[in-house]
Each structure stands twice: as C-alpha cells, then as structure tokens.
Amino acid sequence: MIELKGRKVIRVMLKKWKGISFLSDFLLAIAVSSFLSILLFKILLIPLYWGIIEFLMSFILLFIIHGSWKIKEIEVARFLNRMFPQMEESADLLLRSDESLNQLEKLQVAKIEKVITGFPPPKEWINQLEVSALLLLATIGMCFIIAMIPFSSGNIDPRNSFNFKKAALPKTEKVPASVASISIKIIPPTYTGKRSRQQNQLNLQVEENAEVYWQLSTTTSQKEMKFIFNDEASLLLQPLNKEHTLWAANKYVKETGFYQVQAGDKLSELYKIETIKDQPPVINMESPKPYTVIDFGQPKHVIMKVAISDDYGVASAAIIATIASGSGEAVKFKEQQLSFANFMSGKQQYQLSKLLDLPAVGLEAGDELYYYITARDTHGQENRSDIFIITLPDTAILMTLEGMTTGGNLVPEYFRSQRQIIIETEQLLREKDAIPLQQFNNRSNNLGLDQKLLRLRYGKFLGEETGNEIGGEDDHDQKTDPNKAHTDARDFGNASAIMDAFTHKHDNAEDASFFEPELKAQLKATLAEMWKAELQLRIYKPGQALPFEYKALRLLKDLQQKSRVYVAKTNYKTSPLKTGNRLTGDLDKIQQPVKNSALSKNEEPVESMRMAIPILEDLKNGIRVKKENIEILERASQQLNLSAVLAPAIYLASVAAMRRILEHVGKPGDIKSADIILVENAFQMILPRYSKLPVSSNTGPSTTLSGQYFKNLNRLRQ
C-alpha cells in the first residue's frame, strides 16, 4: 500500500506535467498563428479564418517538438531527483515494484514517501506556463498594432474605393450551364518576360497581346460552340474529341471588352476581358541641373545620375549628346551617342550614373552641350527625357571690346578695369617663374588693391558708404558725434563744416543710382565675386583669384547688356491720299456670297440613353411600355454595350442587367428592380451633362388684357 502511494504521487505529477506542457503548447500555437494570420491578412489579403489552419499546424508542430506525450514516470522521477535534494536521488525507487527492492531501498522508500507528498508543483513548470502566457499577450498586442498600420501595398482594395465598382463586379462567376470545366491558358507576350499561367475562370485579365487558349469540357455533347466578343465578332471553338464534349479555341487579346459563350442556342452571361497596357519607361534625371554653366577654373566634367524604370524591363538606354559650337551663322552641330557603362539589359529598375568628361566628348570653350537620355523597353516603346544643357563659356569673348565701344556707354571705364585686372593677373602668372617672390607678392597685392578700388567704385551704385560690407550703410552714429566737429579750430564759424557734422549726406547727384532691384541684386553678386578675387590676390594666390575675376567680368557684361534699350529708328513717308476719290468706286462687280447650311437631324448617340431613363422608371412602377419605347431601350442598350467594351469592369454587369430587362420587357412584373438600379447607375455615369443653351423664358401667355394695359400705359406716357 505504501509503495502504491509514492507511485500515485508520481503519476499525478506526470499528469500535471503533461497537462501543463499541453497547455503551454496550446497558448504558444495561438500566439504564433494569430501573429501569422494577421500578417498574411495585411500583406497578402489572405482571409483571417485561415488562422485556424495555421493554429492547428503550429500546435501539432510544437506538440511533436516538445513530445510531451512521451513523458514517462521514470522521467518524472529523475526530474524530482534533480529538483528536490530531499529526494536523495532515489525517486526512481518509488517506481519499482516492492519485490525488487532490498531492505535498504525499502527503508529509503519509506523515508522519501513522507517527503514527496508535501512538494509544491515544481517552479519550472509554472515558469513554462507563464512564459507562454506572456508570449501570447505580447503577440496579441503586436497583432493590434499591426492591424492599425495601414499597408500601402496590399490592403487598398480598389473595389472599396468606388461604390459603383463594388456593385458592378460580380462576386462569383457563373459558369455557363452546359460547361463542366474550364481551363484557360494565358501566354503573355514575350516582352513581359512572364511565364504562361492557367486559370479556370472565364473573366480575363491579361497583358496586351497575350495569347489566350481556352479549353472547355461540356456535360453533354454540343453541336457547336462559340465565343461572341463585344456582341460583334464570334470565334468558333474546335471540338477536340469525337463526342464533342471537349472544345478549344485560342486568340490574341488586344483590347479590353467582354465576351460570352454560346453553346448550341444558349448564351451564357457576359465575361470581361481586361488588358494591361505596357507603359513606356520612366526616366528620372537626378543630376546635374537642367542648365549647368561651367565657369573658368571649375573641373570640366559632370556627373550624371539617372533613374530609369519600366513595368516589364528596360532593353536599352543611351545618352544622345549634341555639341553646338561657333556663334552667329556659323554654328556647327555634332551629335554623338554615349552609353552607360553599368547598364545591363532586361531589368525593371536602374540607377545609372556616368561621368561626362567634357573635353573627351569634344566640348571646347564657348560650346554648348545639349543632351537627353533615351530608354527603350522590351516591348520596343521608347521614351526620352527633357533636354539638358551644359555650357562652357568662352573667356576670350569676355575680353573683347565688342559691345562696349558702341551704344550707350553707361559705366564703361570700370568694366575695362576688371578686364585689365584679369590681363595683369594672367601676365603675373606667366612671369611667375621669372621674377623674385617678393616682387610677385607685391604685384599680387597691388592687383588686390586695384580690385578693391574697383569694388568700391561699384559699391557706390549700391549706396555703400564704406568698404566693409557689400551694400551696407555707414554707421550713422559716428558722424553725429559733435565733439569731433569742434576739434578743428580752423572750422570755427564755417557753417558747412558744422552742417557736415550733423547732416548725413547720402547720394551725391553724381553717384545717384536708379537701378531696378533685380539689377541691384546682380550688382551685389558681382561685388561678392570681386571680394573673393581680392582675397585671393591679397594672399598672393593670383591663380586662384582668376576664376572669381572671370565670373565678376561675366556678370558685369551681363549687367551692361541688361541696362541697354534699343529704339529702332523709322523713316518712311507715304504719298498723301486724294480725299476726293474716296468711296466713289464701282461696286457692281462685287459678289454677295450666300452660304446655306443646315444641321443634319442626327440625334446625339447618348440621347437614347437619356430617353430610356423615364421608360425604366415606368418599368420600375410596373407600367407596360409601348413599342416605340422598346426600340429606344434597345438603342440605349447598344450604347451601353459600347461603353462596356471600353470599360468592362465597370459596365459589364449593367449590360447583363439591361439584357435581362429587355427579355422581360413584356412583363414588367418580372423585371428585378436590382437590374434597373444597375442600368440607371450606369446611365448616370456614362451620360454627360446637358450643355447650357439659351432658352426663352416661359412666363405664361401674354393675354389681350395685359396687351390693352400696355397700350394704355404707353399712351399715357406720351
């Protein structure tokens, strides 16, 4: 009996262990499956109920891995030995039969049996349970967070964004009555690089120019089967077996539209064909800027960065560069094609770059480079970017006197100075090796001084008062210091000297400038360049001053051109008119043209749809329609077909509804209101607004009474 008691305790423990590990597996499986299913739902739109399958799978997997069913009593005993020192490594004795124990072991069993009953459930197990419960809680929290995040790629269901589409799309496709099974093979055109695929739904969504191969098996043998496309063209299906139950057809699908299956005399419902058009490649130029000027001294190369993408693949990409050299009438163009070094045909996305070495391309000073990128996709569609321009200004032209010797001489003397500084700087650089360093530095410094003087002269145009700041004004407070004015005794009694101290002389008449703000801004930029040039000259680096000097000169030339206005001289005298002869011509032979035209009374095609709406309203109220109205309905139906060919996804359901209405038009009671709703909806979408036209107002009949009144009123007024 005693032995049994110990064993019983172990058994109970075994059961507990199994139960706990089962429970923790269960919780873990819930956690894993819920996390997985919410992710799949969000990304791939897989319905949530798939979570049950995921749960079962993960649970079984966990169960197998943990193998909790495999736990035996002996393992419990070992566990107890390990966990509780009180067991004195002899828990397994409890499992052995009484007979197999020796005296000592029996004693030991009797000892530990007293201990074993008092053990609490082991902490390890509890921990295991706690860990899985916590994990579950955490995943539930995660799931909530994921559910909140809007996924841009997957979860925008286009059907939700438009009300009508939801209504228009048939939820499940109806298979034609006599058709047992459908197999459709779609072979996308080679340019897409896609593999052929199969489907068993008659609604098609294929790439443009894809080959579609239908294979239908019918329940009974059929005499003839055909597809009717857009209500116009028909395609006969070929029987594949003698029993005439297996039919096939193939066709290249080029346009969107719809089709239906005709088996014998029976027509199926309408199925839509949507084609996916190939898009031309998209070219996105990241650098350089559309218009780049490379000034003197800047490195003569340009880094080009382009992103090209296409829906199926880019076949080729190239740079078409044109160099324009010369000026006036002697402009020469030279075109060349450059390729990208890191281009590999066939990918969908490209991030291309190219270092354009301008002298290597053949660009010289004074030339302009026009270039654009072309890309061709696998379908042969080509696209090109905008044209970009790189110019390399010619410093030689800047130095010419043309344009300064003629025309209004606004501020010419200072321009020449800037040119002179450049010439002297270049002279200095040439003589650098021949002269001592001291002299070189001196001359450089002197040039800097010249540059400063020049800058100050121009600064006056901006209203500068000191040389410290571009465009800045003087600190006025200094001049108002009265003590300073009294220091010179000779000025005693000199009114103008006293006045000088207290007044602030701004513009002298000579320096007064009336520049436009734009011109002023450019002048300021010129001064900034001069500043920089002066800096370089002062630190004996005339070579580095040269780019700034050139830039300043270029800006100055621009300024000069801008401030010029030409007025063309005209000198033309007409002979005086003889007024006596005017308006005395013979007009007999002048023809009086007559034009006569009438608008042909062709009704607008959409008019039938407009007129069909009241008829549909009548049908809704169960009123029988007249024969001529049925004709209107039929014409409206044809118009609806035309719209459906262009956009089957939207209007196909309405076309089918319209057909059902026309079938039952004799018995208005049989027409479903849902069909009328579908058709009216489509009409509302298709029909354009009436255009606004002048109408005479309808104020009721003018009566003889009011006529009399008017007459009498008129008489009274006179």
Partner: protein, 609 residues
C-alpha cells in the same frame, strides 16, 4: 322691425282700443278693471305670438364650457397638464380617428369636423386646439370662431422645400429648403438620382437650417429623384422629388455684322451646332453683304424690314452696323422691339450715335484709370457666379436708373447691361473677345455667358396655357385645385387620366379658370388639354411630406389664432354678458287661453245674474 310688424302692432293697438272701449261701454260694469286687463293682455300675447318676444338672459351655464380639440401631433403630456389645471367644464373632441385611439385615456368624442361643433353646441367659452392645428379648409369653415392654439413644438424634419419640377435641358435642379433637426446627432441630407448619390449636406445636431442641393439631371423626360435624410444609418425621411426635363425651344437669331469677326464666328458655330436658326448678314461694302442661312430658309436680308424682323426673336448687331442702317430700317427695328417684344443685343465699344434709342440707356466710356491686365468677370448664371477672365480692357457702361447690369468685374464696373424697351429688351455688351475663352478651353464660361445674354434678350416663350396646382404637393385622395390661365377666354377642356376636370371661370379675370379634382392614384399623372398638350402632375402618397404638411397647418393655425385673439381683445369690453333669448310661444298661448276663457266665462255667468 319691418313695416309688416308695424302694421301688425297698429292693428293690435286698434283692436285693443276698440275692445277696451266696448268693455267700458257695457252696462254691467262689474269686473271692469279685470276685463280691461285681460283684454289688453290677450291682445298683447297675440301680438307676441306673431312677433317673438325676447328677453335678456344672463349668460347661460353652457357658456362657461370649454372645448378641447385634438389635432395631429398633440402632446399627451401637455394636454394632461392643461386638463389638470383647468377647472372649467370642458369636453374633448377630435376628427382624427388615429388620435381617437391614441387619446383613449382622455375619452375624446369624435366629431367629423370642427365646423359641426359650432352648430351642435350653441355657445362655449373657448376652443382650445392642441397639436399642429387645422388645415386651410377647416379654418375656412370655422366661421371666424376664436381659437386658443396650444401648439406642439415644430415638427421635426423637412419644414420647407422648393424646387422646380419642370426643367429645360441643361438647367440645374436646385432643391432648397429648411430642415429642423431635433436629434442630438447630425443628420445627413442626400439627393439621390438614378440610384446614385448626387449631392449631400449635413445638418448639425439640434438645429434648424436651410439647405441647398443641386444636380444636373441627365434624363430626358420624367424621373423621380429621392431626398434622403440619414441619421447615422437610419433613414429619417425619404421623399420623392419628381423632375421632368423637357427639350429646349430654340431662339431664332438675326446677326447684323459690320465686318466679319471671330466673336460672331464662334457664336455662330456654337448656336448652329445646337440647332438654332440663324441668319447672318455681314457687310462687305456699301450695300453689299455676305449672307449665311444656318438651319434656316433663305429670306431677303438686304434691307431690314418689319417682315424680316417678324421672323426672329433676337437681333444681334454691331453698333457700327446699326449706325450704318437707314432711318427707316432703324425705325422698323425700334417698332418691333417696342411693340412686338423683339430682343436687341448691341455689341459696342463706342456709340457713333449716343442719342439712338438703343444707346441712350447705356453710356459707354473708356476707363482712363489703371485697369488691371486680367479682368475677372462675374455674372449671374444658373449655378453660381462664374468668374472668367477677359482679355484687354473693354469699354465700360455707366449705370443709369432703369437698367440692369448683367456682367461686371470685381470693382463693379459694368461690361454688359440690359433694359426694358416697350415690350422688348435691349442688351448692350462691350465684351469683344469672349471667343478666346473657347479657345482656352473654358467652354462652360462661354456657354454660360452667351446663354445668359441671349436669354435676357429673348422674348418670353409662347406657351398657350399656364397652370397652377394647389396644394403644391398634391396627395392621394386629397382635393387638388388646378388654376389655368389661357390666352383665349374659352372654357378649357382638360382631362386628367381620361376623366374630365370641370372648370369655373374667375368672375374678375375671364382668362383664369379653376377646377377641382381628387387624384385616385399616386405617381405621375397625365393632364391633357384640348390642344393636345401633355402636362404632367406628380401625386404623392398620403404618407409623403408629413412634416411639410404639419408645418403648413401649424403656420396657418397660429396665424389664425393670433388674428382672432386680437379681435377678441378689442371686442371684449363692448360685448354684453347677456344673451337675447326669445320667450317660447306656448306661454303667450296659455295667457290668451286664460284671458279669453275669463272674458267668455265672465260674460256668460255674470250677465245671467
């Protein structure tokens, strides 16, 4: 007292005098006083049997009685409070069977209409009305009886609505109204047509607000749109909006141009494409013209005559061309405008003859001030003011009294103006490059502007009959009054769904005819007139427009009660609290009997002794 009564009195007096004289002459003079008294009494009673004798009686007990009348929408709680507070004798009545059922705890008595009440109960102190009040008909029959109106709060939902059921193609369907939202949540109003939501609007919680919904109907003919009021997902109200779109009747236009220009060319092309009849005369040289007949027969246009003008509704002319016309031609235009309602549109940037009849009301001048490079023009159109930018600055028109500016810019400078001239209308426009809007793709602005200008100038269309329905929202099995105005005072023959409507002529306006009918079917009904015209009428179900009808009753009763209340206040101090009651004739008869019996007995028995 009539002369007949005087004669009777005189005869009676004579008889009394004669009889009294006879009594005094009698030999036996016993009981003389008694005899005279009875004679006079008998004669007097005889008189009063012919002429009723009235006595002043203090207000009877019945006059302290009050009547409580329950109408649709009454509040049981407020009724209860009223009944508890009033100690007067009252009776509770209603003419509404549904109220009879709902108000059972108050024991109301059914009376078919309030007018009957006045006849059956001679006098009562006050008529208390609970609920939304009486209909127009009921008020008419109340016979000016004062009423104390215990109005229920305003009905929830639509309290006013207006739209035009009959539209021309291209016109906007504009639904305006007022919605009383008593809910704690906002209500969404949706205009639904052809099962598509076309326009919507939200009325905030607990507010009464006006609303405006608009759409361009796309059908030709009749269709029923729906006005839905949604609170959350519940439909609070759903009303039908019947709309019939008719094709337009075109305007016949004559264009007189001094020189070919783009303005006329674009206008011409647009109107031609839409089937308008156009004749264009463009001057080439002196008396030499280029003529174009679009959708029209050839007519002689070299001279502008009455005959020519009678064929057109509107003349569009350049100011130069008008100035070049001979005096007779101008006179014929003038007379047609003044006496026949021809519309004249003048395009001008200055007038050579500022004194001419077409130029006088519109002084044109060129602005000397700074005019901005781009003008933004405004005019009133169907939808809203449509701004469109004009090109270089056109001339301006000074506003004179009697003219109506049509197109103006942001600074209210006028570029197009109109005025009445006799029966016709004059429109002067200085805009000279509106065609550039069309070139710029702004078709809608161009169409809107010229539609407005042409519509302004065109004479009113000649429909022969004009009709009016009352109530505006006719309901099933409720009386509808139709008022027709015809051009000729001949009794109209009108059928409603193949049954005749009988008309009564208005005694003061011989052209106006009124008839009554009771629609027996809801939905569209055809009204046919004898000249083959088909008019449409939409009849609603009895459950439609409940709140509108309730509000109508509410307004009418409130107004009536208010008017009557003031009358009472004025009349009360004068009014006697006594009633004149005729004494029943039986009393006189008995006195005569007694009197004559006495006289007879006295003569018979006394004379024996």
């Amino acid at each position: 007292m009539t002369t007949g009564n005087y004669i009777i009195v005189a005869v009676c007096l004579a008889t009394v005098l004669f009889l009294v004289w006879k009594e005094t002459q009698r030999a036996n003079r016993s009981h003389l006083v008694w005899r005279i008294v009875s004679t006079v009494l008998t004669a007097a009673c005889l008189l009063f049997m012919v002429i009723p004798f009235t006595i002043k009686v203090q207000g009877t007990k019945e006059s302290s009685r009050e009547i409580v009348w329950l109408t649709e929408g009454y509040h049981p709680d407020s009724l209860k409070i009223f009944l508890e507070n009033t100690h007067e004798d009252f009776s509770l009545h209603t003419s509404d069977i549904s109220i009879l059922k709902s108000a059972l705890p108050f024991h109301p008595i059914f009376i078919a209409e309030p007018a009957l009440l006045i006849d059956s109960i001679k006098s009562f102190r006050a008529l208390h009305v609970f609920g939304y009040g009486f209909t127009k008909d009921e008020i008419k029959k109340l016979n000016k009886m004062p009423v104390i109106f215990h109005a229920s709060p305003l009905p929830a939902g639509l309290v006013a609505i207006n739209w035009s059921t009959f539209l021309k193609a291209g016109e906007l369907l504009l639904i305006r109204g007022s919605f009383n939202n008593v809910r704690p949540a906002p209500v969404k109003l949706i205009l639904n047509g052809l099962h598509t939501n076309l326009d919507s609007l939200v009325i905030p919680a607990g507010k009464q607000q006006t609303f405006e919904l608009r759409t361009h109907p796309k059908q030709r003919g009749r269709a029923v749109y729906t006005l839905l009021a949604l609170a959350g997902k519940d439909t609070v109200e759903s009303e039908n909006i019947p709309v019939e779109v008719d094709s337009i009747s075109t305007i016949k236009i004559l264009i007189l141009a001094a020189s070919p220009d783009f303005e006329n060319k674009f206008l011409k092309n647009w109107l031609f494409k839409n089937g308008y009849q156009l004749v264009i005369r463009t001057a080439i040289s002196r008396d030499k013209y280029q003529k174009e007949y679009l959708n029209s027969n050839e007519v002689k246009v070299n001279r502008v005559t009455h005959l020519l003008l009678d064929k057109f509704d509107v003349v569009i002319a350049d100011a130069e061309e008008l100035a070049a016309l001979s005096r007779e031609e101008l006179a014929s235009i003038r007379s047609r405008v003044e006496e026949h309602g021809l519309g004249l549109i003048v395009k001008a940037d200055s007038f050579a003859a500022p004194g001419a009849f077409y130029a006088k009301p519109f002084p044109v001048f060129h602005s000397t001030g700074n005019i901005r490079k781009r003008l933004v023009l405004h005019w009133r159109s169907d939808s809203s003011s449509t701004p469109a930018s004009g090109g270089n600055a056109p001339a301006l028109i000074r506003k004179l009294p009697g003219t109506q500016p049509l197109v103006s810019d942001e600074m209210s400078r006028i570029y197009c103006s109109s005025s009445l001239y006799g029966l016709g209308k004059l429109v002067v426009t200085t805009l000279n490059n509106t065609f550039s809007w069309q070139l710029a793709g702004n078709d809608s602005a161009y169409h809107s502007l010229w539609s407005m200008i042409l519509q302004k100038a065109a004479p009113p269309g000649g429909s022969k009959q004009n009709w009016l329905i009352e109530p505006a929202l006719p309901r099933l099995n409720e009386p509808v009054q139709i008022t027709l105005r015809s051009k000729i005072p001949v009794k109209p023959q009108v059928n409603l769904e193949k049954s005749n409507i009988y008309f009564q002529q208005n005694p003061w306006l011989p052209l106006e005819w009124t008839g009554n009918f009771w629609p027996t079917r809801a939905g569209w009904q055809n009204i046919q007139t004898e000249n083959g015209q088909n008019l449409s009428l939409y009849v609603y179900e009895n459950t439609d427009w409940k709140s509108i009808y309730a509000y109508e009753k509410y307004k009418l009763t409130k107004k009536y009660a208010h008017e009557k209340l003031q009358e009472i206040k004025i009349a009360e101090p004068v009014k006697e609290k006594y009633d004149q009651l005729p004494l029943p004739k039986i009393y006189f008869y008995l006195i005569i009997l007694v009197g004559t019996a006495y006289l007879w007995g006295e003569k018979k028995y006394r004379s024996v002794y």
